[in-house]
């Protein structure tokens, strides 16, 4: 990127915890928030869900907002509060990522159908903050979160905004659960990415917010060196067998970041724990020549948070780089891909300078981001 973009502040709200510190502690301890839930028609399903008593205490009254809207507001408030400088909303752009927004209200006759449109939902959230700028909404399936960051990085090149607040969220709903159930893609136990006995995905809910700027607040702010996407152009709901699309995204992001593959210290993979996804990623990492790098997936901890995943997982990666400690891949015990990867079994203290985050999704999209620690 011509003008470097820095991660000034962040927030992650998941069933693991409402602060990034709680989330990191639990990731290092390999704690999983995935629990069994019983459904009258689908039987026992495993996913990561907030408890009903979790109300997300926002600063102003947010009683008129839906669960996902409150989740966005709560997370954004936390990220803003952690900034060391004050921001002027007129110089701030909101970029949202979500795949399904308020979908849980689809069958609710009392719900304003306009708010089922994610663009309108985004306006509601931006209005809470009295932000005068039209929010940008990215909805590109499971790569939405990484692409919202990509959009933010590109718009920051123009110096039109001082800060971009990137926030991604999705909630577990009967709608999405039943869809994955119909695909027979749900794991009958908490998902185990890259493991031999993996048997599908576990869904999850949560929100991640990162505040980006081309002006760092401190020399410890992590830089987003590059962000790109690609498309498999192969199949809507299955990854390419060869990993060709992911390979092209990783090659492009390495080139844009102006680094060598050997410089990558750690990879935060997509790792959904479906047979085909994890196998495809392993092949892609081998093709790029990074299969020896430590790699992990957090899907075993928080499930697949869909539109939030790219943002939540980029924030986890950045925080692990601050702490110089690699996140272990919860649920992994035995290699289950044809290419042997260096899947992280226990938290590893190690100096981390460059991290790669990847994602792949329905519709054939792949995305990749390179983070670099300055100091």
């Amino acid at each position: 990127m011509k003008n470097p973009v820095y991660m000034l502040s962040d927030s992650v709200v998941t069933p693991l915890g409402n602060t990034i510190e709680e989330n990191m502690d639990k990731l290092y301890a390999k704690t999983s928030a995935i629990r069994p839930y019983s459904h009258a028609q689908m039987g026992t399903l495993f996913h990561s869900q907030f408890s009903e008593t979790d109300t997300f205490p926002t600063k102003k009254d947010s009683g008129a907002y839906t669960k996902i809207e409150r989740l966005f507001i709560y997370s954004i408030e936390q990220a803003v509060a952690k900034l060391s400088s004050t921001i002027d909303q007129k110089n701030v752009l909101f970029v949202f990522a979500s795949t399904k927004g308020n979908i849980e209200y689809l069958a609710d006759p009392d719900f304003d159908p306009e708010r089922l449109r994610i663009g309108i939902m985004a306006d509601y959230v931006a209005r809470y903050f009295n932000n005068p700028n039209k929010p940008v909404v990215v909805s590109n399936a499971c790569i939405s979160g990484l692409q919202a960051i990509q959009y933010a990085c590109q718009i920051l090149q123009h110096k039109k905004y001082s800060h971009v607040i990137v926030s991604g969220a999705d909630c577990v709903s009967e709608f999405v659960l039943s869809g994955f159930y119909s695909f027979q893609a749900l794991s009958p136990f908490p998902c185990t990415p890259f493991d031999k006995r993996r048997a599908g995905v576990s869904l999850g809910e949560g929100c991640g917010t990162v505040i980006l700027s081309s002006q760092p607040e401190s020399d410890t702010n992590i830089e987003i060196r590059a962000a790109v996407s690609s498309n498999d152009a192969n199949h809507l709901s299955g990854p390419s067998r060869t990993g060709e699309g992911l390979v092209s995204a990783i090659k492009a992001v390495i080139k844009e970041a102006d680094i060598q593959p050997s410089e990558i210290d750690v990879i935060s993979a997509h790792g959904t724990a479906t047979i085909y996804n994890d196998e495809m990623e392993a092949l892609a990492f081998q093709t790029i020549g990074v299969s020896a790098a430590p790699v992990y997936s957090v899907k075993g901890n928080i499930g697949h948070t869909l539109g939030a995943a790219g943002i939540v997982e980029t924030i986890y990666l950045a925080n692990s780089m601050h702490l110089n400690k690699i996140i272990p891949s919860a649920g992994f015990s035995e290699t289950g891909t044809s290419v042997v990867l260096n899947v992280v079994r226990e938290a590893v203290p190690q100096k981390l300078t460059i991290g790669l985050k990847t994602a792949s999704g329905f519709g054939g999209g792949n995305a990749a981001i390179i983070l670099k620690k300055q100091k």
């Binding site: 399904k100 979908i103 990215v138 590109n140 498309n231 152009a233 192969n234 809507l236 092209s248």
Partner: protein, 210 residues
Amino acid sequence: MTYSITRFCRIRRDSVQADSVRIKTNTTEDLQKVEFSELYKHVSMEYPKYFKMDAVSKYGIIAAEHLLRGIDLKAKYTETEIGIVLSNASGSLDTDAEFQKTIQNKVNFFPSPAIFVYTLSNIVMGEICIKHKIKGENMFFLSETIQSELLEGFVSDLFNKNSIRCAVVGWVEYSFGKPDVLLLLVENTEQKNINQIEFTSNQIESLYEL
């Protein structure tokens, strides 16, 4: 740098004949009945998968066929040099409602995988990518109305940083039975000629008004 709109396709419900859609391209204009089989026959395409698609994907595929018919992009660009940036207002809500019907009745609970696969905003983009082997940058935005500055800005940035050399850009909306589609082919043409349209937000809006 500015880039050129070398082709376009606009599809919208006709204002007079409610059962017809108007399809305009840079060279043609047609009024056709809304039946999906008619639209399919008219582009003379051999693509049986079309009949499995949801409505927004069908319109996206038809528009992309009109847009790209008769040109060989692969002769000029590699697959990863071609990008696609689309947007709409309703995401996949029309199909979401269809899927909801399959889980609404608790006695007759049969979630349909064939419908569920279409319940994401970007699936129409995925279908166009598969049909035309578009493998470069791909992005899907949601907004209430077409955001011409957003599209122009993001796509121009991708061209400027040499991520892509060609792009399919536009708006693919379908709700309450009404299609509203504008697809543009954007290229970096060295030699300008008078038929070319500059890729600017104003031109995107003018073409949308057609």
